[in-house]
């Protein structure tokens, strides 16, 4: 029985390894590049980000003081975003981009917690990889750490309320949240460079970011479902504390051991 779980986990590992053996370099990905937002917009998005970061720090503090046992899971949610945003994957449009990985943490810990974790990932990439930037950190955090997670959260709650199974709500939540992140990026660039109208510019940037992102968003949705599958087998207690699913939906334990 445990062999099956082992296989599940090793398949996940194999996926991660395969992806970055085959597509390691030469592909820059998304996020607005350093210096590429006019300074008034850069400042605007920084200001817009701050209240969410404060709320996020509070929410994380609360979770950790109430349930110290969840620290590890929180770290795992951050690490998941860390891995996925390092994986630049080719897309059908002939360009590459990477997933965000914030959907998982959002489902577990709520959207503002992922604002903070997403920002940490973005700072790392801006300082060490020259990917994204410090001046554009506000805008990038707003798309990846605020819009993405809040959309994910809304969809997760909404779809679950409609009575959809856990996997479907997780999948839709992570996929659409990922897509919305890039649609937000396109909108931010459209607002900053409105030659011929904000709408026209936004659509142009959407052509670059959003279509590339479609298959990657689906991949992110599927990977998030896989992790939730594993978690709902081994971390039921934690998931119950976080009320990821209500008692009757506990789908797993019957078959094991």
């Amino acid at each position: 029985m445990t062999l099956r779980k082992f296989k599940k986990v090793s398949l996940l590992i194999a996926y991660v390894i395969a992806v970055y053996i085959f597509f390691p370099d030469d592909a820059y990905a998304m996020h607005i590049m350093e210096g590429f937002l006019p300074y008034n917009w850069a400042a605007f998005w920084w200001l817009a980000m701050i209240p969410f970061v404060i709320a996020g720090v509070r929410s994380i503090k609360k979770t950790v003081t109430l349930h110290p046992s969840l620290k590890m899971l929180l770290g795992m949610a951050g690490a998941f975003a860390f891995v996925l945003s390092a994986l630049k994957i080719p897309s059908v449009t002939g360009s590459s981009s990477h997933p965000t990985g914030v959907g998982l943490g959002t489902i577990l810990f709520g959207p503002t917690a992922m604002t903070v974790l997403g920002m940490i990932v973005l700072i790392f990439q801006a300082l060490l990889l020259a990917h994204g930037g410090i001046t554009t950190l506000g805008a990038n955090t707003f798309s990846m750490g605020i819009v993405g997670p809040f959309v994910s959260y809304g969809i997760y709650k909404g779809v679950k309320k409609l009575g959809a199974p856990l996997w479907l709500s997780v999948f839709l939540s992570a996929t659409i949240g990922d897509l919305m992140t890039y649609i937000t990026t396109a909108l931010q660039l459209g607002l900053a460079f409105p030659a011929g109208g904000v709408m026209a510019s936004t659509l142009k940037f959407m052509g670059i970011f959003a279509f590339t992102q479609v298959p990657l968003a689906i991949s992110e949705g599927i990977l998030t479902v896989m992790v939730i599958n594993v978690l709902s087998t081994y971390s039921q207690k934690e998931l119950q504390i976080l009320s990821v699913f209500t008692g009757k939906e506990l789908p797993t334990s019957k078959r094991r051991v």
Binding site: L11, F23, D25, A79, P215
Partner: protein, 98 residues
């Protein structure tokens, strides 16, 4: 469907999604979407000059890919450390109450 079969099937879909573009769009360069955005900004506003430069840039593509691989390695290291820890805790608690 068994959970293992389910995750296996899911994995196949992910692999196809990641690899299919390489075969569907042969000859494409798979540049980053942000490089294309740079070009688009240039056509929309040819006078725009980036007003800030990164403090530090990886000196070569090799160093950059090393840092990206490192990022993925640290991340996946922790993810699977946690999954292993959860699995161990789970089977230990199963043993306590047979």
């Amino acid at each position: 469907m068994k959970p293992m079969a389910k995750n296996g099937l899911l994995l196949v879909i992910v692999v196809v999604l990641a690899f299919a573009p390489l075969f569907l769009t042969r000859g494409a360069k798979f540049n980053g979407a942000d490089d294309q955005a740079k070009a688009a900004i240039n056509t929309l506003n040819p006078n725009y000059v980036p007003w800030f430069k990164p403090f530090w840039k990886p000196p070569s593509a090799e160093v950059e890919s090393f840092l990206f691989a490192l990022q993925a390695a640290i991340g996946s290291g922790f993810v699977f450390y946690y999954l292993g820890y959860a699995k161990g805790k789970h089977s230990a608690s199963k043993k306590d109450q047979p």
